[in-house]
């Protein structure tokens, strides 16, 4: 096998898989939207107004303004991760949907690309809903915030790709708890979602600097507050690096699992 064959193939056949997932989502949209959106919204508003009343200013702005950007990113991450883990695992292992699809003239790589883009699309919707609420309650300072749209999609792709690695390795749903407890939740706390990262001890700040979520937050927060983020290229490069490294690993591991 040559080196090129080890890399994921990228083909438009993935659209049929995306459309399949979209059709399921459309049929189950109301509970799914509620679950996906209500939860982060309650956190943002509850913490933002409740805790915010006790705080004079955080990072130079009101706490609700501060936490809005964090919630956009956090919610995008959670939504992409959930989709790639739980829903992906259902389709791969429990319902055997991927098996059915691969009996058609569609390859595993097409299925995975469909899942990747789908999870990112769904997380995009979660991020957008938070953004919309933030805009309605007057937390968005300028049209610069429109740059958050592609950023949220990229963030979704990155976390979906990382999630697909976990799914490829999972023996059962229980396995996902490790990923959430050991990685996703700590990352949420270290990445400047709920409080500024500079409050952390120096060691943890160093750890935070390599976590993908902190780079998403560092880009989205200034854009919502109406100014240009610093070190845009570096942040984008790190987010993209997580994507382009994770996705081929996810594809290789899933091939090993299903095509043996």
């Amino acid at each position: 096998m040559n080196a090129a064959a080890l890399l994921p193939s990228l083909n438009l056949r993935f659209v049929a898989i995306w459309r399949r997932n979209f059709l399921v989502w459309r049929k189950l949209a109301i509970p799914s939207v509620l679950g996906n959106l209500a939860d982060p919204m309650i956190y943002m508003l509850g913490l933002g107004y409740g805790l915010g009343r006790l705080l004079p200013e955080v990072g130079g702005v009101s706490y609700i303004s501060f936490i809005a950007a964090g919630t956009v990113c956090y919610s995008t991450m959670n939504s992409a991760t959930f989709e790639a883990l739980y829903s992906g695992f259902s389709r791969m292992h429990v319902q055997r949907t991927w098996d059915a699809i691969m009996n058609a003239p569609v390859d595993l790589d097409d299925v995975l690309l469909g899942e990747l883009v789908w999870a990112a699309s769904k997380s995009f919707l979660s991020g957008m809903a938070i953004l919309l609420v933030a805009w309605i309650i007057g937390l968005i300072a300028s049209p610069l915030a429109l740059w958050v749209l592609p950023l949220v999609f990229l963030t979704g792709l990155t976390f979906a790709a990382m999630g697909l690695i976990v799914t490829a390795l999972a023996p059962s749903y229980d396995f996902f708890l490790y990923y959430f407890t050991l990685f996703v939740t700590p990352m949420g706390l270290l990445s400047g979602v709920f409080f500024p990262g500079d409050q952390l001890p120096a060691v943890l700040q160093t750890v935070a600097a390599v976590l993908p979520l902190s780079h998403a937050v560092d880009l989205v927060r200034p854009l919502l507050l109406g100014h240009r983020p610093e070190a845009v290229v570096a942040h984008l490069a790190i987010l993209t690096a997580y994507l382009v490294v994770s996705y081929p690993i996810a594809v290789a591991l899933t091939r090993r699992r299903l095509l043996k």
Partner: protein, 303 residues
């Protein structure tokens, strides 16, 4: 032209050779059965043939195309009924077909045009909007069959198509499958129901331990591998009776528990003898494919 030609196929998992040099050919419009006990390598052979696993050695040509090199293109002309139900539980009957047709790159209008005919064929007419949870096991199986025909395939591959179905549902599936070769569809099926193989297959092969150990028409296999008559003798002392008499009165016999299977060409002397025995009952019947299967693969359990 052959719809499928397999030459010298081998596939190993670790040190286990699951398929150990299998060759066969299926002509267009033929129904070919692959029989074998659990773990014989049937499903692995199918996975290799469809290009769903690699690496393998040997040569496979599926609908004229080399596999695995052009497996995806070859599957364009193949329909598959898998062993395990994998219909989309969130979709209706019609949505299952629509979404599956899209995987073949078919336009929605073209798929919608085929749905009514396929549902009619599968005995699901009027069920287009039914949900999966409202379908019986037999109906789901028939929907899976309809789904496998969405691309009007040249070759239909079925992995144990009637396992778990009641007799009514099995007979309905058989009727549908019999109609396919007449329309020029080639059929490859695996099964361990001998009556299924005997009814449906023009030709079949018996597989065990990764190899094909016999191949031919059902009638051929019976004539070639086994005596034409079978007398099954039952009773508490059947085994004791067999020790004394069975080798004298039959050309070959097997004892399992309280049953003796006597295989023979001329059954008259044995039947006359048995009529005089007290405490023994018997069943006299022509030899069938199951006798061949058990002779060739043994009576031990395969779990």
């Amino acid at each position: 032209m052959a719809s499928l030609r397999v030459t010298g196929l081998r596939k190993r998992y670790g040190t286990m050779e699951v398929v150990a040099g299998v060759s066969f050919e299926i002509k267009r419009g033929e129904c070919f059965g692959l029989l074998g006990p659990n773990g014989a390598g049937k499903t692995t052979t199918l996975r290799c043939v469809l290009g769903l696993t690699g690496p393998v050695s040997g040569e496979i040509r599926l609908c004229g195309l080399p596999v695995p090199a052009r497996a995806r293109e070859a599957r364009m002309r193949v329909g598959i009924v898998p062993q395990v139900d994998n219909l989309d539980p969130d979709f209706t009957v019609a949505e299952n077909l629509l979404v599956y047709g899209r995987y073949f790159g078919l336009a929605d209008a073209a798929i919608r045009g085929r749905i009514a005919g396929l549902l009619e064929f599968a005995g699901l007419a009027g069920r287009a909007d039914a949900n999966m949870r409202d379908l019986s096991g037999g109906m789901k199986r028939r929907l899976t069959l309809a789904r496998a025909l969405i691309n009007d395939p040249e070759l239909l591959v079925l992995d144990e198509p009637t396992t778990g179905l009641d007799p009514q549902a099995r007979h309905l599936i058989w009727e549908r499958l019999k109609a396919l070769p007449q329309r020029g569809v080639t059929v490859l099926l695996t099964t361990h129901f001998m009556d299924e193989a005997e009814r449906l297959c023009h030709r079949l092969a018996i597989m065990d331990h990764g190899r094909l150990i016999a191949e031919g028409t059902p009638r051929d296999l019976i004539a070639r591998h086994i005596e034409p008559q079978v007398v099954e003798v039952y009773g508490e002392d059947a085994a004791g009776w067999a020790r004394e008499n069975a080798s004298r009165l039959s050309s070959r016999f097997e004892v399992t528990g309280e049953t003796v299977f006597c295989y023979l060409a001329d059954s008259d002397p044995l039947l006359a003898h048995l009529d005089e025995q007290r405490g023994l009952r018997y069943l006299h019947r022509p030899a069938n494919l199951e006798d061949v299967f058990l002779k060739l693969t043994g009576r031990e359990l395969r779990d």
